[in-house]
Symmetry: C2
Subunit: 321 residues, 2 copies
């Protein structure tokens, strides 16, 4: 294995620009100053090759995605991304300049876009590539968006388009035409965490979650935390043109976008009296925001307008949450 300290210096040190009163990579730990009247939000996501992304994934995309899925969690809590650490367990086959250069460049693309420095971590040997990012953000005291705040009557919204990540995964696994489905592959490999939307929702939304396990699963998590139910109008779930085209030819796959993962969109609830303000505020984001249902006093998800008379998640094979 190339010497750990050399790797860190060459590829990761350039990502580590912290404020002058702070300490980044190179000591036993990092030292970070805390802005006044803010709370710290901490999120951790691990990606294992072959489990969380296909073996064929380009190193640039692994680097991007490892940070993106964490920034998506921060966005769901309305936190402003601040800094992150990286634990990289690297098989011998990837421990070379070309792989590390590509991985770190994808990571840097997203880190620089959101101005989040890498503040430390650990590099180890392993049989299987495993990337754990712990990302940190700041949120004004008491303003973190939780899963537990939804109340009956709130509107249920989702950002962007749902299902393209799952479609992208199918394109890889079933070796479909990559060019025809380029948009879905882009969504799978380079998800755009909805950081600006999350910040904007802090004083508007009553609850939020990022859609990573699949829309229906994540809605179920949110409802369980909020102890509510919802009516979800399947006909209103927003699909990209590429997904619409796929479903037009594969009607039997109608549940794929609802149950597949890797969306990294935000799903959130807004009290009725704030829904007009929401529509106003989201204009500058240039991101579709779609109302897909309404919170009820019941339990679980009641599906409206689903094919074949499907009305509950149990019909789709969901077990307990």
């Amino acid at each position: 294995m190339a010497h750990e300290f050399d790797l860190i210096r060459t590829f990761f040190q350039p990502l580590s620009q912290v404020a002058t009163q702070d300490v980044g990579i190179g000591d036993d730990g990092a030292v970070l100053s805390c802005p006044p009247r803010q709370q710290l939000v901490v999120v951790t996501d691990t990606m294992v090759e072959g489990v969380h992304f296909p073996l064929e994934t380009a190193p640039e995309d692994i680097g991007w995605k490892a940070l993106a899925v964490n920034l998506s969690d921060l966005a769901a809590m309305a936190a402003k991304p601040a800094f992150f650490s990286l634990a990289l367990s690297l098989p011998e086959s990837k421990n070379h300049q070309a792989w590390l250069k590509a991985f770190s460049s994808g990571l840097r693309d997203l880190a620089e876009h959101h101005q989040v420095p890498l503040i430390g971590g650990d590099t180890t040997r392993s049989d299987r590539l495993t990337v754990t990012v712990t990302a940190h953000g700041w949120v004004p005291e008491g303003q973190a968006l939780l899963r537990s705040g939804a109340r009956p009557g709130d509107g249920l919204y989702v950002s962007g388009y749902i299902g393209d990540g799952a479609l992208g995964l199918m394109v890889v696994n079933e070796a479909l035409d990559a060019e025809a489905y380029a948009g879905a592959l882009q969504k799978l490999n380079r998800p755009e965490p909805r950081v600006a939307l999350g910040a904007l929702l802090a004083d508007l939304a009553s609850s939020a979650i990022d859609v990573s396990d699949g829309l229906l699963a994540d809605i179920a998590h949110l409802l369980e935390a909020s102890q509510c139910g919802c009516e979800l109008d399947v006909a209103t779930v927003p699909y990209s043109q590429i997904m619409q085209g796929y479903l037009a030819q594969n009607a039997q796959a109608w549940a794929l976008p609802l149950t597949g993962g890797d969306d990294y969109e935000l799903c959130f609830t807004v009290p009725a009296e704030k829904e007009a303000l929401l529509k106003e505020r989201i204009q500058p984001l240039n991101l579709p925001i779609t109302e897909i249902g309404r919170i009820t006093a019941g339990t679980g998800v009641v599906l409206k307008n689903a094919p074949k008379g499907v009305q509950t998640l149990e019909h789709l094979g969901f077990q307990h949450f």
Copy 2:
């Protein structure tokens, strides 16, 4: 695999007691309040089975050690441990109640002792057990101990006894008499992070590092960061009775405790004018603190009283730092 959410609830939720205004496990991330006029210290260490600990290691000890090595890094920066996250990549063979119960109980032993809650993380499948802990601590603004503060004339000190972890590893690898070397195995598997000492050094020491890679290697890291040299009197390095007994019978192994890892003691420098105060303050700790050398204006480590005329690290096979 047992359902991730069930595992988390059963074994890890009990470790997650945070303040009432904060949010622990169960949302997209944790939300933590920041004490006024403190900086945040963040450390990350990954342990891979077969690389960072022997395959035979008991799950209780893996749990303890994964947190201990991180608290040791916090101690080296004079930070008070506050909370930690856990990324656990688990092979199928360990994904059962007995293993998880044992692992989490060892983790809990140490977490409760230092009152650090588990605030989140991720559980994934993998071929090889990989445990990444990211630990967080607080330090008064500007008081973090760095590696870079040593100055010529400072005394060089080390806590506890050196080399028992390396001896413990040899006992496992060479199947020596475990009972005769129980103390060394205890040090290997259940290191005690020097948290109280670290806090006490904040306004006394000029630099510090935790001894994890081996005493000489870590001193070299400290000297490189401080751009100094040191004279190290090998005859003064403190050894436990068990190590003294081993060296009495294996004189050729004299460099083992100096180059072996897994000590998790603190190595630090103290300006001459504060050395009397140091001796006073450490009394209540009930932990041996030994002066082993002095910082010089040179570069690298000059060894005094080493066997066979060895005077530099290069003689011991060290390459660059």
